[in-house]
Subunit: 204 residues, 2 copies
DNA sequence: CCGATGTTTGAACGGCCGGTCAAGCCCGAG
DNA sequence: CTCGGGCTTGACCGGCCGTTCAAACATCGG
């Protein structure tokens, strides 16, 4: 049975979301067709509309799904590390597109930009974006606070630092993802680490 | 004569670009139709294709045109101010969406995000984006260097500071434009000013 | 006033694609 | 074995929209 329908147990809903995320990453939101998603998922176009009310809702769900997934994977990675400093370094490692060769280069960030564009006009998406973004900022702030509690870092406003560091990462990641000739992954990484050290108050 | 065809002297090319930029700002790139642009420009749809090879080229041109225009207007503003500190403050004032009530709130930034999305897949757009971005960073660096030369600021790596400050502005502006409940224009403005003072080395 | 040249129009074409649907298929319960 | 209800298909429909084009129009030099 399992050989005949290998993925039957896995939820179709999720399979389709996966496929959609992959297509959006590759072709972009604007160029994503239902039939593309169906091809990647290995099903007929009709089935997509059986599981989702409309193309729009599918794509919106796929975007938040993929970003949420990225956040969860990153959180798991980080929780293993013992010190706040190592955690912070890891966050930055993972945030720099193409810095760690074993991770997809621009995948996550490309999706994130699509989220922004959509959120400008779609209130539903805007709400999801804010939640995702606050959670991300929050987790940076939590690391800083943990470091402060452990005596690793001096006491400062963790939320403000998280906002600044997170925004800097966003802004730099955009340039990197765009292949800007003056902003290499290495340069971005160095800038983030230096600003983090300076703002939080630790030595590199 | 001038009453009958008031804008006849002004180039149609530019009129249409203006109209296109306005439509993109309002409806978004994905929802922009040729007929929308024609309506706003007050001409027939056919004429749009008389002046532009295709819808795609029109929209790409409109995006770079509008962003270039914004940069030029900002540069003119800044050149009037005597000290580097005042210039820098003005740059930040103008960069914070909705901070100065007399300027359009999210107009310029919304277009800028559309540029990013397109640049991911369109090499032509990617090239334009890089030029625009480098010019913007350059002008921040120039202000810093001028301040250093005048003895206003201590000597530091102006290009690196410009990259960091510019990226921070990008990242924060995104949140502000998205109406993030935790990132008000005022908060963004304060963060930018403080980081600028700290990185460049002057007192607020 | 005449034609030539560059503009402008809007009707019409044609392809694309989201969404619908009737028909089959699979599978498990009885 | 049979029935029933979810799952899956793919053909089809209908509208939308970029693009084309023939015809009108304006302008101006001669």
């Amino acid at each position: 049975m399992s050989a005949v329908r290998p993925r039957a147990t896995k939820d179709r809903h999720q399979e389709i979301l996966d496929a959609a995320a992959r297509v959006i990453t590759e072709r972009g939101l604007a160029e994503t067709r239902i039939s593309d998603v169906a091809d990647v998922a290995g099903v007929s176009p009709g089935l997509i509309l059986y599981y989702f009310d409309s193309k729009d809702r599918l794509l919106a769900e796929a975007l938040t799904y993929a970003n949420d997934d990225f956040f969860v994977r990153m959180s798991r990675e980080i929780r293993r590390l013992p010190t706040a400093r190592e955690q912070l370094r890891r966050v930055i490692d993972l945030s720099v597109p193409g810095y760690l060769p074993e991770f997809g280069k621009l995948d996550e960030w490309a999706l994130w930009i699509e989220v922004w564009v959509r959120a400008l006009r779609d209130p539903e998406m805007a709400k999801d974006r804010e939640i995702l973004d606050q959670r991300w900022r929050q987790s940076i702030a939590d690391i800083i606070r943990a470091g402060q509690a452990a005596g690793e870092f001096p006491a400062r406003d963790a939320d403000e630092i998280a906002l600044r560091l997170g925004s800097l990462i966003d802004g730099l990641a955009i340039q990197v993802i765009m292949n800007d000739s003056q902003v290499s992954p290495e340069r971005m990484h160095r800038a983030c680490m230096e600003v983090a050290a300076q703002e939080i108050g630790f030595d590199l």
